[in-house]
């Protein structure tokens, strides 16, 4: 029992990171229909930047995160304007190829600026809590809490604010949204800013809890898309449920089936969902 509980706790922390990545992906997909493949690498850029500011420039962690969030938002806006907007009306393949090209570029930029060695954002959180044999490191607790807070903030933003409602409207019906007087040229910029901010938050989490290294972002973005397919494309509750499900599945698979094939098992779950429920766990039929 302790083991199962411990594995679920293990899975929730990484699941929280998946959720944040998937939320960023899902709002972009909902609005533009683009699989923003560079999202993982951009998120890692945010993590790297935070590391750079903390470890090399001596910024306090919170300030560094704030700076990284702002820089990330600007970067997101630039990506939309310079890369995706020009292919908005072209074949959907083109947008995906642009996404792949962007991924290469951002990975290259990360490599150029921050090197090939793994990077860990230093934090002070080193305590470990233990309840009845189940342990929870302080840092993981913060990551879970931060992820929960961001998910809550995101839900409130989308459901309760005018801008959030406009974003949903554009996702559901672009033409009708125009008729509501929504500036549909602006919405993608806002969406990319939010998406990248969420990604940077995930990048900081990965960078402090684990490490950032070349290729980590790409691995993460694939997991993010697996979450999307699991939860339902463009669905915010789907991203939350799918992310936790994927994280816990991986931990349980590694703990009880095979650590070598845990990613394979995660993808098999994704394929199974695709076959049995193509619209995803939370998607509408």
């Amino acid at each position: 029992m302790t083991e199962i509980l411990q594995q679920i706790i293990n899975g929730i922390a990484i699941g929280g990171v998946y959720v944040l990545i998937a939320l960023g992906l899902t709002i972009v997909f909902g609005i533009l229909g683009i699989a923003h493949f560079a999202h993982g690498s951009v998120s890692m850029f945010g993590g790297y930047l935070t590391f750079f500011l903390v470890a090399q420039q001596g910024y306090p962690l919170i300030l560094a995160i704030l700076v990284a969030l702002v820089v990330g938002m600007v970067l997101g806006v630039l990506i939309e304007l310079l890369a995706y907007r020009p292919v908005r009306n072209a074949n959907h393949i083109n947008a995906f190829i642009v996404a792949l090209g962007l991924t290469m570029m951002v990975e290259g930029i990360n490599l150029q600026f921050f090197g090939a060695e793994q990077v860990v954002i230093p934090t002070d959180a080193g305590r470990v809590f233990s309840i009845g044999g189940v342990t929870l490191p302080e840092l993981r607790l913060y990551v879970i809490l931060a992820a929960a807070a961001l998910i809550l903030a995101m839900t409130i933003f989308v459901e309760k604010t005018k801008t959030g409602q406009a974003i949903r409207a554009v996702a559901e019906n672009r033409d009708a949204a125009i008729l509501m007087g929504i500036n549909v040229q602006m919405i993608p910029l806002i969406v990319f800013a939010i998406s990248t901010a969420l990604g940077v938050a995930a990048g900081v989490m990965v960078g402090s809890l684990f490490a950032i290294a070349p290729g980590v972002g790409e691995g993460l973005v694939v997991k993010g898309f697996a979450v999307l397919i699991l939860g339902g494309l463009g669905s915010i509750p789907g991203a939350v449920v799918g992310g936790i499900v994927l994280g816990v599945t991986e931990a349980l698979a590694a703990g009880f089936i095979s650590s070598a094939y845990k990613d394979v098992i995660a993808f098999v779950v994704m394929i199974a969902v695709l076959l049995l429920r193509p619209q995803g766990l939370m998607g509408r039929a």
Binding site: E3, N10, V120, T135, P137, L209, F210, A213
Partner: protein, 402 residues
């Protein structure tokens, strides 16, 4: 003014005269190694150390072959530790640049790809840090390797851990990487001899940084000790997460990571007491004068301490110099390859090679170094003792493997 110009003139004349005496030629050697990507941590220092060795050899008068003196010139290509890129790099060195001597090679996949065709080339290949055993079991006569295979070290480690009195040990490692797997295999064999048992073989991939699921499973099995085998980046997380999960069993490992690399991930308290059972390589506490000089020169030249495994490549360059001089030819690669097999350990060597029948490389072209047990004590790796290794016996064993 005039006097100085005259002096300059005569100096130039002198040099011309000197040059005409014995022909000074250039020998171009090649390096194929990972300069970018994840494996650059191993490859780049190796490439640097070859360039440094070449300059030192040149400064010491070059390579003397008959009446000629050869000055070394080094071409370095990036193989990204990728087999196709490595093949391309070596093809280019041989076919386009006319290079006959190729050094470097930090990583097994890329090395294996090149080893599969080098036999048929008019060239000599010197392998460095790549630890996969099969590289020197194929009887390739124009290939030698300075680093011992991982299982040679694994066996010594198994005997050492058994001696500590552990009976049930859990393994967590990059077991999909075959030289790590072979380390564990040899470890297990030795460990079993004294009645021990390996109760778990859990795997992490090179990009995994969250090993808590595997460790949770291991924790449940209540082993006497933990053995972590893999690249330092993930291994450091395994050590840290083991403490986070409240595991307080002794931890052994095979990672060859530096102090800085571990401290980036885990605190010194979390690392306290961890053992690293590995080839002795370059450690300031246990090295020779050549090693100290190497460390100082490298640090000065590249502004960064050399990686512990980088001297494998440095020693390649010196081994090549001595072999060419012994063979008396730069053109006859067969003679040079044969001379390498006959070479005795030379004074410039940084690693502490254990000769086999008096030779640096055995009949398979394999060199052996001492293995050591290092322990993390208050923020530092401390050399505790040499691991008992029998290079002669292993060399005989290696000849039987195919």
């Amino acid at each position: 003014m005039k006097i100085r110009a005259l002096l300059g003139c005569s100096a130039a004349t002198l040099m011309l005269v000197g040059g005409a005496h014995a022909a000074e030629k250039t020998l171009t050697i090649g390096v194929a190694d990972a300069l970018t990507g994840g494996a650059a941590v191993y490859g780049l220092p190796q490439a640097n150390s070859v360039e440094m060795a070449a300059d030192e050899i040149n400064a010491a008068g070059g390579i003397a072959v008959g009446d000629d003196t050869y000055m070394l010139d080094v071409i370095v290509y990036d193989d990204k530790a990728n087999p196709t890129e490595a093949t391309n790099a070596v093809r280019k060195l041989i076919d386009r640049d006319g290079v006959r001597y190729i050094l470097g090679f930090c990583c097994s996949g890329a090395t294996g790809a090149v080893a599969s065709f080098i036999e048929y080339e008019d060239a000599v290949m010197l392998v460095g840090n790549a630890a996969e055993r099969s590289i020197t079991t194929q009887g390739i006569s124009n290939l030698v390797r300075t680093r011992p295979p991982a299982d040679y070290t694994g066996a010594a480690a198994g005997a050492f851990v058994a001696k500590q009195g552990h009976k049930r040990i859990a393994v967590l490692g990059a077991l999909e990487t075959s030289f790590y797997a072979s380390y564990v295999e040899a470890f297990e064999e030795e460990f079993k001899k004294s009645g021990g048992e390996v109760i778990a073989h859990e795997v992490f991939a090179s990009k995994d940084r969250d090993m808590s699921p595997q460790l949770t499973k291991i924790r449940e099995m209540q082993p006497d000790a933990l053995l972590v085998v893999g690249y330092v980046e993930p291994a450091a997380f395994a050590y840290r997460q083991a403490t986070e999960l409240g595991m307080d069993v002794p931890r052994y490992g095979f990672t060859s990571g530096s102090e800085e690399q571990f401290l980036r991930v885990a605190s010194s308290e979390q690392m306290e007491g961890v053992w690293d059972l590995r080839p002795t390589e370059l450690t300031l506490q246990s090295t020779t004068d050549a090693g100290l000089a190497y460390h100082a020169n490298y640090s000065e030249r590249f502004g960064d301490a050399p990686s512990p495994s980088s001297p494998y490549a440095y020693d390649q360059a010196w081994a090549l110099k001595h072999a060419i001089e012994a063979a008396g030819s730069v053109e006859d690669t067969e003679a040079v390859a044969a001379a390498l097999r006959e070479l005795e350990v030379f004074p410039e060597a940084v690693m502490q090679y254990l000769p086999v029948e008096g030779k640096m490389f055995d009949q398979n072209g394999q060199a052996y170094t001492a293995n050591g047990a290092f322990q993390w004590q208050e923020g530092h790796w401390v050399f505790v003792e040499e691991l008992p290794s029998d290079q002669e016996a292993y060399s005989r064993f290696l000849s039987t493997v195919n």
